[in-house]
C-alpha cells in the first residue's frame, strides 16, 4: 500500500502524517481530542472493557503503526506523534490522580497507557508499541471487568468515596483488580512490566532523554493513582456506602475475569529470551523495527528506574491513604486549587463547550429560528410583496366605470397614433430623404 511513499516529498509526507495523526488522536483519545473517552464510560462495563479499553480506542495506534512507511520518511510528523503521545500519557495520569469515579480513573488510565503506545510508534519503536497494545488489552479489560463486579454489587455505585473496606467483602474482585493494578503499574513479572519497560528502553536507546523522563514520571503517577484507587476501594477503614453491598457471584461474571487475570500475569512472557514470539511475528510487518530490545541485554538503568517508579507510586499511595491520612488532608487543603483543576481535567471540556458547542448550537438555532424564516425568507417575501403591491396599484385603475375605460382606450389610441405619425412616419420620411 505504501510502496511509493519515497516518491513523495518529505513536506507532503509530513502533512499526510499529521492528518493521519489527527484521525488517530480522535480515535485513541489523545490530546487534544480526548474528552469523549471519559464521557463514553456511561456505557455498561463490558462495553467499556471491549470498546473503550482493549480494542477500538487502540485503532489510532494501529493506524500509525500500519502507516509506518510514511512516518519513517516524515520526521516532523513522527516527532509530533511522539510528543502528543508523551503529553497524553503524562496529562492523563495527572488527571487520573484527582478523579473519584472508578470508571473515570480507568478511562484516564486508558488514555495515559495509549499515550505510551503512541509515544512508542512515534519514535519508531513499533514492536514495543504493539506489545504494550497487547498487554494493555489484557490488564485493562481485566480492570474494567473487575470494576464491573464491584459496581454491580454496589447497585450501580461508581464513586470510590462511597466504597472502602471491600477487600474482605469482595475478595474475588479485590484479588483480580489487584493483579490488574500491579500489571498496569509495571510491577515485575506481570505483563505491563515487560511492555512498558520495552517502550522506555527504546526511548533511551533511540536517544530521546526528555520523552523517557516524562514517560518514567508518568509511570510513577500511574502506580500512584491506580493504588490510590485500590486503597480507596478496598481498604481505608470501613465501607462508606449507603447500601449494604450484595455479594453476587456467578461463573458468567467470574470466568472471563479469571482468564484475563491469567493473561495479565503471563502476557508479558511472550518476549522472554529464547521465546521472543512477539518479535518473530512483528518482523513481518515492521522489518528491523519489529524486533523488541533483547531481554538478554537488560538495560539495568532503565529497568531500575521503571521499577523504582512503580514502587514509589505504590508506596506514596499507601502512605497517604493508609498510614498518614492527616498528611493527605493537609496537602489537599494546601493544594486545593490544583486538585480542582485536575478534578476538572484542566477544564478542557468546559473550554470546548464554550469554544465549539455553544457557538455552533447558537448559530444553528438562530439560523433555523430567525435567519431562515425571517431573513432569507423575508427577502423573497419582499419580492412577492413588491409584485402584490404592483398588482394593488394596478387594481386602482380597474374601477368598473365604462366611461373611464373608454377614456383610457381613447387616450391609448391617441398615443399610439401620435407615436406612429411623429416617430415612425417622420423617421421613415427622414430616411427617404
Amino acid at each position: 500500500m505504501f510502496g511509493n511513499v519515497t516518491s513523495a516529498s518529505t513536506n507532503a509526507l509530513d502533512w499526510i502524517g499529521i492528518w493521519l495523526l489527527v484521525g488517530a488522536v480522535a480515535k485513541s483519545a489523545q490530546l487534544p481530542l480526548h474528552t469523549w473517552l471519559p464521557d463514553a464510560m456511561e456505557g455498561p462495563t463490558p462495553v467499556s472493557a471491549l470498546i473503550h479499553a482493549a480494542t477500538m480506542v487502540t485503532a489510532g495506534v494501529y493506524l500509525i503503526a500500519r502507516a509506518h512507511p510514511i512516518y519513517d520518511h516524515a520526521p516532523a510528523a513522527a516527532m509530533t506523534v511522539a510528543v502528543i503521545g508523551c503529553a497524553s500519557a503524562f496529562v492523563a495520569a495527572t488527571i487520573g490522580m484527582a478523579q473519584y469515579d472508578i470508571k473515570r480513573v480507568l478511562a484516564y488510565s486508558t488514555m495515559s497507557q495509549i499515550g505510551y503506545m503512541v509515544l512508542a510508534v512515534g519514535v519508531g519503536a513499533y514492536a514495543a508499541g504493539t506489545f504494550h497494545f497487547v498487554t494493555h488489552a489484557f490488564f485493562k479489560a481485566l480492570l474494567f471487568m473487575a470494576a464491573g463486579i464491584i459496581i454491580h454489587n454496589l447497585g450501580g455505585e461508581q464513586d470510590i468515596r462511597k466504597m472502602g473496606g471491600l477487600a474482605k467483602r469482595m475478595p474475588f474482585a479485590f484479588w483480580t483488580f489487584l493483579i490488574g493494578t500491579l500489571a498496569i503499574s509495571g510491577v515485575f513479572p506481570l505483563a505491563g512490566f515487560f511492555s512498558k519497560d520495552a517502550i522506555l528502553d527504546e526511548l533511551q536507546l533511540l536517544g530521546h532523554p526528555w520523552l523517557w523522563a516524562f514517560g518514567s514520571v508518568a509511570a510513577l503517577l500511574t502506580a500512584y493513582y491506580m493504588f490510590r484507587l485500590v486503597f480507596m476501594t478496598f481498604f481505608t477503614g470501613a465501607y462508606r456506602g449507603d447500601h449494604e453491598p450484595h455479594t453476587d457471584r456467578s461463573p458468567t461474571m467470574e470466568v472471563p475475569v479469571v482468564i484475563l487475570a491469567v493473561l495479565a500475569t503471563i502476557g508479558g512472557w511472550l518476549v522472554l529470551p529464547g521465546h521472543d514470539e512477539m518479535s518473530r511475528l512483528l518482523q513481518g510487518a515492521f522489518g528491523d523495527r519489529g524486533i523488541l530490545p533483547a531481554m538478554g541485554e537488560i538495560n539495568w538503568f532503565v529497568t531500575g528506574v521503571t521499577t523504582f517508579a512503580a514502587a514509589a507510586g505504590l508506596l506514596i499511595a499507601w502512605w497517604l491513604y493508609e498510614r498518614a491520612p492527616q498528611v493527605r488532608l493537609r496537602l489537599a487543603t494546601t493544594f486545593a486549587p490544583v486538585q480542582r483543576v485536575l478534578f476538572n481535567a484542566y477544564y478542557i471540556d468546559t473550554i470546548y463547550h464554550w469554544l465549539f458547542e455553544v457557538p455552533t448550537l447558537t448559530a444553528a438555532s438562530d439560523v433555523a429560528k430567525y435567519v431562515d424564516p425571517e431573513g432569507v425568507g423575508a427577502l423573497v417575501a419582499g419580492v412577492a410583496r413588491t409584485t402584490t403591491g404592483l398588482g394593488d396599484a394596478m387594481r386602482g385603475w380597474e374601477t368598473g366605470y365604462l366611461r373611464r375605460y373608454g377614456l383610457g382606450m381613447v387616450v391609448g389610441m391617441v398615443l399610439v397614433l401620435a407615436y406612429y405619425i411623429f416617430v415612425v412616419h417622420a423617421g421613415a420620411a427622414v430616411g427617404m430623404r
Binding site: 455552533t360 448550537l361 444553528a364 433555523a368 432569507v376 425568507g377 427577502l379
Partner: protein, 496 residues
C-alpha cells in the same frame, strides 16, 4: 438482455403507464378503495418492473424514440432517450414512486384517495418524462407540468391553511424559475433554430452563453433547491403529505441537477466555467447553511429538509469542481440522496401519523415500543450521515476525493458539514428513538405495519447495495457525461 427491437415501445410504456393507470382510476368508483389501491399499486409496480429492463443497458448503448413533432424555423421532435445517465434517474423515479403510491394508502382520507393517487401517478409521469426528454421543448414542458400535481396535492389534500399557503409559495417560486428557464431556452433556440440540442455545442458567443447559462442555472437552483433560492422548501416539505414530500425531495429535487448534466453543462461548457466561482460559493453556502439550519431545526421534517439542502449542495460542488471523479460521484450522490430522503420522509410520516406531532422535543424512547421502526430509521439516518457501507458515504467520499483535486479550499469547508451531518442525524434519531418516553402509555401501537415495512425495504436495500457496490453505478456514468478537462489558460471572455 433487452429485446432492443421494442425499446422505443418500452420507453413510452414506462413513461405513460403511470398516467394511463391514473386515467383508469377515474373509472373506478370513488368508494371502491380496494380497487383503487389495487389498480394504482399494480400500475406503479408494473412501471418499476418494466423500467428494470433498462438496467441491462450497457455503458455506451441507449434506447431512443424519436417522432417528428414541430417543423419550421423552430423545429422540435418528440425525442425520448434512456442512456447510461438517464437510466439511474428513471429507476430512482419508478422505485420511489411505487413506494410512495403504496405509502399513500395510509394518508389520504378515504373519500379522497382516488384524487390523491391520480395526482401522484400523474406526477410520476411528468418526472419520467423529464428524465427521458432529449428535446429541450419536451424537457421544458415536463419541467412546468410537474408543478401541477404538487400544487394540487398541497392545496387540496393536505388540509391545512399553512399547506395552502405553502402550495402558492411552491407554485409561484418554481413558476418563476420555469419562466427564467423558458427565457433561456428561447434565447438558445433563437440561435439554433431547433429544440433538438443534445449532443450539440452551439457557437453562441461568450456574452449570450453567459446569460443563457445563468438563466438555466437559476431555474435549476430554484428547483433543487440551493441556497439562497430555497425559501419555498421548508414550507413545502413540512406541509406536504409524506408520500408527496418523499417524491418531491427524493425525485423532483434531482430535476435541476439532472438538467445541468443533460443540458446545461453540455450546451454551455465555457459559460459554466465562468459561472463556476459563483456557483461554487453557492454550493458551499448550501452545504454549511443547510447543515446549521438542520441542527437548529426542532421539527423532524424540517430537519430532513435542511439536510437535503446540505446534501444536494455537495452535488453542486461536485459538478462545478469539474473533475471526472467528482462529477460521476455527484450522480451517485443524487441517486443515493433520492433513496435516503424518500426513506426518511416516509418513515417520519409513519411516526407522525402515530404520535401526531413532528416536534422533536415531544417524542422519545420509541425504540422500546417499536424496535423494527427504530432499526429502519437507524439505517436511513446512518446512510444520511455518511456511514461507510451505505450509499451516502460512497457518494460523499468520492465527491470529496474528486473536488479536493481542483477545489481544495471549498472541499475543506464542505468537510465541516460532514461532522455537522453526524450531529443533526444523531439528534434526529436520538430524540425520536432514545431517551425517556414522552408519549402516554396508551398511545396505541407505534410499530411498523407489514405493508410499511415492505414498501420501505426496497429503498433501504438499494441504499445498502449502492453502499457496498457503488461501482455498479459509478463505473457506468463517466462516459455518460461530458466533463472537459480544466481550462488551461484561455479565458472565455476572449472568444467574444
Amino acid at each position: 438482455m433487452l429485446p432492443w427491437g421494442c425499446a422505443d415501445v418500452l420507453i413510452n410504456t414506462v413513461i405513460f403507464l403511470p398516467l394511463v393507470t391514473a386515467l383508469i382510476l377515474l373509472f373506478v368508483p370513488r368508494t371502491a378503495s380496494a380497487w383503487l389501491k389495487g389498480v394504482a399499486l399494480t400500475g406503479a409496480v408494473a412501471t418499476f418492473a418494466l423500467s428494470l429492463a433498462f438496467a441491462s443497458l450497457g455503458v455506451s448503448t441507449s434506447a431512443d424514440f424519436t417522432a417528428p413533432w414541430i417543423a419550421g424555423p423552430w423545429s422540435a421532435a418528440y425525442h425520448v432517450r434512456v442512456d447510461a445517465l438517464r437510466v439511474f434517474f428513471v429507476l430512482l423515479t419508478t422505485l420511489v414512486s411505487a413506494a410512495c403510491v403504496w405509502a399513500a394508502f395510509s394518508y389520504a382520507q378515504l373519500t379522497r384517495l382516488r384524487g390523491f393517487l391520480f395526482l401522484l401517478l400523474m406526477f410520476e409521469t411528468t418526472l419520467l418524462g423529464l428524465f427521458t426528454a432529449a428535446d429541450l421543448l419536451l424537457f421544458y414542458i415536463y419541467w412546468d407540468l410537474m408543478l401541477i400535481p404538487v400544487f394540487l396535492i398541497l392545496s387540496g389534500y393536505a388540509g391545512s391553511d399553512d399547506a395552502r399557503k405553502a402550495a402558492w409559495g411552491y407554485l409561484i417560486y418554481n413558476g418563476a424559475g420555469g419562466l427564467v428557464l423558458l427565457l433561456g431556452i428561447i434565447g438558445l433556440v433563437n440561435q439554433t433554430h431547433t429544440f433538438e440540442v443534445s449532443g450539440l455545442v452551439p457557437n453562441l458567443g461568450a456574452a449570450l452563453s453567459w446569460w443563457l447559462f445563468g438563466a438555466f442555472a437559476f431555474a435549476f437552483a430554484v428547483k433543487t433547491p440551493a441556497f439562497p433560492f430555497h425559501s419555498w422548501m421548508p414550507a413545502t416539505y413540512t406541509q406536504s403529505p409524506p408520500p408527496l414530500v418523499a417524491m418531491v425531495s427524493g425525485v423532483q429535487s434531482k430535476a435541476g441537477l439532472f438538467g445541468l448534466l443533460a443540458f446545461g453543462l453540455p450546451l454551455f461548457p465555457d459559460a459554466a466555467r465562468v459561472w463556476a466561482p459563483l456557483l461554487l460559493v453557492m454550493a458551499v453556502a448550501s452545504i454549511l447553511y443547510g447543515a446549521l439550519a438542520a441542527i437548529g431545526a426542532r421539527d423532524a421534517k424540517l430537519l430532513v429538509a435542511y439536510s437535503s439542502l446540505s446534501h444536494l449542495g455537495f452535488v453542486w460542488l461536485a459538478f462545478f469542481a469539474f473533475s471526472i471523479t467528482s462529477v460521476s460521484a455527484g450522480i451517485l450522490m443524487l441517486i443515493s440522496h433520492g433513496l435516503i430522503a424518500a426513506a426518511l420522509f416516509l418513515l417520519l410520516g409513519f411516526i407522525e401519523e402515530r404520535v401526531g406531532t413532528r416536534d422533536l422535543g415531544a417524542v422519545g424512547g420509541l425504540s422500546q415500543r417499536a424496535p423494527r421502526l427504530a432499526a429502519y430509521m437507524l439505517v436511513a439516518c446512518m446512510a444520511a450521515l455518511g456511514l461507510p457501507g451505505l450509499s451516502g458515504f460512497a457518494g460523499e467520499f468520492l465527491i470529496l476525493i474528486g473536488t479536493w483535486q481542483t477545489q481544495p479550499l471549498y472541499t475543506s469547508l464542505a468537510l465541516i458539514a460532514v461532522v455537522l451531518a453526524c450531529v443533526y442525524m444523531l439528534v434526529l434519531f436520538q430524540s425520536l428513538m432514545h431517551g425517556p418516553e414522552r408519549l402516554p402509555r396508551d398511545a396505541g401501537p407505534i410499530e411498523l405495519r407489514g405493508r410499511e415495512m415492505w414498501l420501505v425495504t426496497p429503498l433501504l436495500a438499494t441504499i445498502v447495495f449502492l453502499g457496498v457496490w457503488p461501482g455498479w453505478l459509478n463505473d457506468r456514468t463517466p462516459n455518460a457525461v461530458t466533463v472537459q478537462p480544466p481550462a488551461v489558460s484561455t479565458t472565455v471572455g476572449r472568444h467574444a
